[in-house]
């Protein structure tokens, strides 16, 4: 009698809304089923059931909970019901069952509609429909249990829903969390929910029901604490401060949790091929691919290992990262791929190398080693020149005597850079600009010449002191790392390591560099470089075709460069690539290039229809000959196509 009265009251109060909501739900389901039926590659009408469970059924549960429970608790009308001689639990239990029943009926109708829509392609069997039905009801019971529990939390429920939504989003999308291990997510799996017909997901269903049970229990417990006084207190409006506190607490909790999840580890990658030379202490592995390349691979591994060992001893490094090298015989000699995500990982072709090419490769490897040593900080512009200069210096003359031909080539390139841009001596402030304008080889030669000057004028120990200042300590990846590193200005640190002012260092180094111009080997190298500079222009032809043109012209030089274009044996190469709207360091690849005979006073390169107004493009004009191992960058520009 009492039960029927209570049910009757709820029925009278909510019948219109319930009917409208049900009609809307079913109408929407039918429309979606019709849409699904007509859509290309709609796999099954039961996908609509899954979609409904993920999208609007939670909303319907929310509305049902709001009407059935929240209203009564917030407005205080439950006290009239509780005053009736039937105990506190029965009205709540009836509300719980009413809501659950209502949602289950909706869910069953959705499944039934989908089943009715299913055609012969869906191979409809009783077992299959029952399986889908059970999965659907399990999820529905979870939704209702959550809504039931949260609805009893008064104004706090909104915060709880937001928190719940954030938790769901975190599990679903946060890298490192496997949603398949969380029962409701496993049950709602994109592939298995609809298309697994043979296996029953017992674990996922049990887990989901367990969570649903816990929420239900929490709801009933909440209503009993202090004979309902807690629920009553929660029904009182929350202050904004409460919301703030909750928001901060929730955000902090999620942050800590997601940080903890980052701690997962995995073993470092290793070569598993039999064509690998492995050396220990320091660990160097070389993958040489075929028997015929084994000798070269072994030589390389031993050379690198020896170089790293002596570097470790000289700088007092405690540990060194693993170095792995992969042979790629198809590559150009200086086409080197470099990664430091898992030790130092280099892909290159060392087969056609001469000693200068070997030095380039060894420098790249040590660059990676020392960069990893500082957790990447050595690449920061004010110190990057030390990293580049020191690694090349170490490879060339750190552990063995410097070869004359290497010295000549490096000095000639450094002089050529300084001849074009005297500002390039500002190693601390302009390193990225120097590398951008003259490419990595140009910048590196300049830094190497600075190190060599230091060695020759102040001794080897001074070079090691400079390296020790910037290349030894790993810097934390945090603002504390920044503060620790920037407490003392980079210039002061350099001056302290050099034991001289930066201005006099620049001055003496430049004077020394110009003296080196007189060396016959250097002069010979310089005289092979044509005194060219590049010029770029973007234009639209009368027909509307967008073209980017490049030409070359003579420039003044005091280095005795080549002034007869016919005598130049090299080729002029235009390299280009899109760059984004914001500048970052870029090393333009050889993928997009146009090679031509060098000519003066006329258009040499034309890029037709590749770029259009509004684009930003990096364009470099290189001179490639047989005298220098690496190209000389005659011109480089970051262009906005007008």
């Amino acid at each position: 009698m009492v039960v029927s009265s209570l049910l009757g009251k709820d029925f009278r109060e909510h019948r219109l809304a319930a009917v409208l909501l049900a009609a809307g739900t079913l109408a929407m389901t039918m429309l979606m089923l019709a849409w699904n039926r007509q859509a290309p590659y709609s796999m099954s009408p039961f996908e609509i059931v899954r979609f409904a469970l993920l999208s609007f059924l939670p909303l319907i549960a929310l509305i049902t909970g709001n009407r059935l429970i929240v209203r009564e608790y917030l407005s205080g009308t439950r006290q009239f019901v509780e005053a009736l001689p039937m105990g506190r639990n029965l009205p709540l239990l009836l509300k719980y069952l009413t809501g659950l029943l209502y949602l289950c009926v909706l869910a069953i109708m959705m499944v039934a509609l989908a089943a009715q829509q299913a055609g012969v392609t869906d191979d409809l069997t009783t077992d299959y429909v029952v399986l889908i039905m059970i999965k659907t009801l399990v999820m529905t019971s979870l939704y209702w249990s959550v809504v039931f529990c949260f609805s009893l939390c008064g104004h706090l429920r909104i915060a709880l829903y937001l928190l719940g939504a954030a938790l769901v989003a975190l599990i679903a999308w946060y890298p490192g969390i496997d949603p398949d291990r969380v029962a409701p997510f496993a049950l709602m799996d994109d592939q298995l929910f609809v298309f697994e017909r043979d296996l029953i997901p017992w674990r996922a269903m049990q887990g989901t029901l367990l969570i649903a049970g816990l929420f239900t229990l929490a709801g009933f417990t909440l209503s009993r604490i202090g004979e309902g006084s807690l629920v009553e207190r929660l029904a009182k409006p929350m202050t904004r401060r409460d919301y703030v506190a909750l928001g901060v607490l929730a955000a902090s909790g999620l942050t800590v949790w997601s940080t903890l999840l980052e701690q997962k580890t995995r073993p470092p990658v290793e070569f598993s091929s039999e064509y690998v030379v492995r050396l220990q202490d320091p660990a160097v592995s070389v993958l040489y691919l075929e028997d015929q390349y084994e000798v070269d691979g072994r030589k390389l591994a031993e050379r690198i290992s020896e170089s790293m060992r002596s570097l470790q001893a000289s700088l007092g490094l405690v540990a060194l990262p693993d170095v792995k090298l992969v042979l790629d015989p198809e590559r150009e000699p200086h086409e080197i791929d470099y990664a430091t995500a898992d030790g130092v990982f280099i892909t290159a072709n060392w087969l056609p190398h001469d000693s200068y090419d070997d030095a380039i490769l060894d420098t790249v490897i040590l660059h990676g080693v020392l960069s990893a040593q500082t957790a990447g900080r050595a690449m920061f512009e004010p110190y990057h020149w030390v990293l580049d200069g020191f690694t090349r210096w170490w490879v060339e003359q750190g552990a063995s005597p410097l070869r004359d031909e290497h010295r000549s080539e490096l000095l000639a390139r450094a002089l050529w850079v300084m001849d074009i841009d005297p500002e390039a001596q500002q190693l601390i402030d302009r390193w990225q600009l120097i590398a951008d304008r003259f490419a990595y080889p140009g910048a590196e030669s300049l830094a190497w010449s600075a190190m060599t000057f230091l060695e020759e004028s102040r001794g080897r120990e001074r070079v090691l002191a400079l390296a020790s200042e910037f290349l030894l300590s790993p810097l934390p990846d945090s603002i504390f790392g920044t503060i620790q590193d920037r407490r003392i200005d980079a210039t002061q640190r350099v001056e302290s390591a050099l034991d001289m002012s930066l201005a006099s260092f620049y001055e003496q180094w430049q004077a020394w560099l110009h003296e080196q111009q007189q060396a016959p080997g250097v002069q010979a190298m310089l005289s092979s470089i044509p005194a060219l500079q590049g010029r770029l222009a973007s234009r639209s032809t009368p027909d509307g075709v967008q073209e980017l043109e490049a030409s070359y012209e003579w420039r003044e030089s005091r280095l005795g460069l080549l002034t007869d274009i016919e005598a130049a044996d090299g080729r002029c190469v235009l390299k280009h690539d899109y760059i984004g709207p914001f500048d970052t360091e870029i090393e333009v690849s050889n993928d997009y290039e146009d090679e031509a005979t060098c000519r003066v006073g006329e258009t040499v390169h034309v890029l037709n229809s590749l770029y259009s107004p509004g684009d930003r493009v990096y364009v470099a004009l290189d001179y490639e000959d047989s005298v220098f191992h690496q190209p000389l960058r005659l011109h480089a520009e970051r262009m906005s196509i007008p």
């Binding site: 409208l20 429309l31 392609t121 890298p175 490192g176 969390i177 970052t584 258009t603």
Partner: protein, 648 residues
Amino acid sequence: MISLIAKELRQLRPIAWLWLAVLVLGYGMQFLTERVDEQTFGSWCEGYCEYSSNAAVAVFLVLLALVTAYSLFPREHDEATIDFLRALPVSRAAVFTAKVLAAWLLLCAINLLSYGLDRALLASNPESIGGLFYEQVWFTLLWRDCLFMFIVLAHGVLLSWFRTLGLILYSLYLIGLMWAESALGSAGNWSIFALLSNQYEGSHLVVNSSGLIIHTLVAVLVLLVAYRLWSRTETGGGSSRRSRRGLKIVNGFFAVAGFIVLGLVMIYRIGVDTGTAPSDDLTVTATDHYRFVYPARRESVVQYIVEHAETDLEALGEILGVDELPNIRVDLSASSEHAAGLAKWKKIQMDLDAFREDISQRRVLSHETTHVLQATESDRALAENYSAAKFFIEGMAQYTSFAIVPEVERRRSNWELASVAWQRQSIRFDDLIDAAAFSSRFDAELHYSLGDLWTRAMVNTCGLSSLGDFLRATGREEAVRDLPAAIFWRDTMRAIDCDLDTVNATWRQQMAELYEEVDIAQYPEFTDIVIQRDEQAQQIRISARLVDADADADADADADGNTVSVLPERFIVRIAGISTQLSGGVDPVFRGQTRGEGAEQRIEFLVPDYAIPGTRFRYQLGFTPSADARYYYESWRRGTAPASTGQP
């Protein structure tokens, strides 16, 4: 008015603390995990400043504004505190305006604080290139975000009158936008997310001015409606029976209207979609592991497929080392313009109209069955690494299906096309393992043929069994999830004792050998591209000349006189989708026609202007090298169409 605003700001203080707490938490995380002086403008802006727009960041801004809007009026009315305000000698309009202005000022202040802090942090980067600051972009983003906040705040003030129903209505609006983006490619200026879309002229950010103007005007109108509603709403305690009923009616009206609108959208969708074959003439046939459903009129081809299905499946199982073959349901009645088949877990759908030859249909079944086995053998783990493994997922399916059902000519043609793209567009393994980046630079269809060739290289290097071993290795219990693509590949290959670098070396060698055999004359290149707008026809006209690939290898050659020696059969242009990433869509394609003769001959593509909103767009030109071949697409290019004058 100023004292009213000040009072409202005081009242909003807890909300301000909340947003400040969120900011502090964000900066706290940043400070604990990054060296702030290494951040560049590009890295600061990542995910928000790219071309097009990013819905994820926009959703956060929407939440920020909606929560603030909801804290303005409902509580004042529920707690009847609005009556005190109304008792003051100020108009209701002034109270309303003060509240909205205060909320907007708060949101602007939060924005300003955040942008100001970011600016200060970026200034700590002393690098000559990495430390560059883009004043115009920074300032434009700041004022655009403030305006966006105003627009959403206005929506929120109106929605808050409907309380929870308002949020449901907004959810429906978002669902509508998602649908529009997936179905139409874009929701245009209907979408609030389009307001945050970015376009650049060099480094200069160009905003969606028309969208911002329209939405700002709408927001002002929305505020007027909200004012009417809120100013006529009495407080909870003193509300009349009549007004409560009015509220109910309005709530009910909007709820019903919401469903009706969504329903109409879906009905429209049904009207425009392509259809499947009617189910009444479908027939069923089964083998040990397959259950086929097919249109009765396709009896002959299905008989051929069925005849070979079990032996092909067994062969597949053998290649992949499958212990227990699954039961698979195959629906042969599907229809699509975009794909010949689709597999999901243990179900396959195929479009029998996709190919003419029976053997091709049989091969498609093998291809899709491979996907089923990939899913079951890897326990769905391979699909979880979809971006890193897409080329392998499709490539392995190509490899196994061609191995079981040889279609020598088709495969050869695919390989040839892939080798040309590989050579000309400099495609590397690192490109393959990032599906999204690959699709933004190259033709996404190349995943199939390049993947086939890469799989071939893997088999040649590590043996046939490596394919199945790889699948099981991805699903192994100890496999770490969400690895970066390169590490995922190294980690998984290491688990099966197969060297990735050796496979890559083999792949490159095979690709180079293939390219050597290609008749390059069949693969000309587009040049002299002209983009014009035809206001009258509401079209963008893209026209280009075709020249032989080696014709302009050196600038010594004069390209003007060159004509193509082999004219392709068909031409196509693909325009990059312009969605706001709410949901994925398909890039629209348009056929091209030849115009003129000899040296004057050009290929002309007519693109409806709705496919290119604004002036900047990305496109890809393509052609078929021979009658039966797939389209060969050149790399993506960026184009600029002349701005519309608005006059036909």
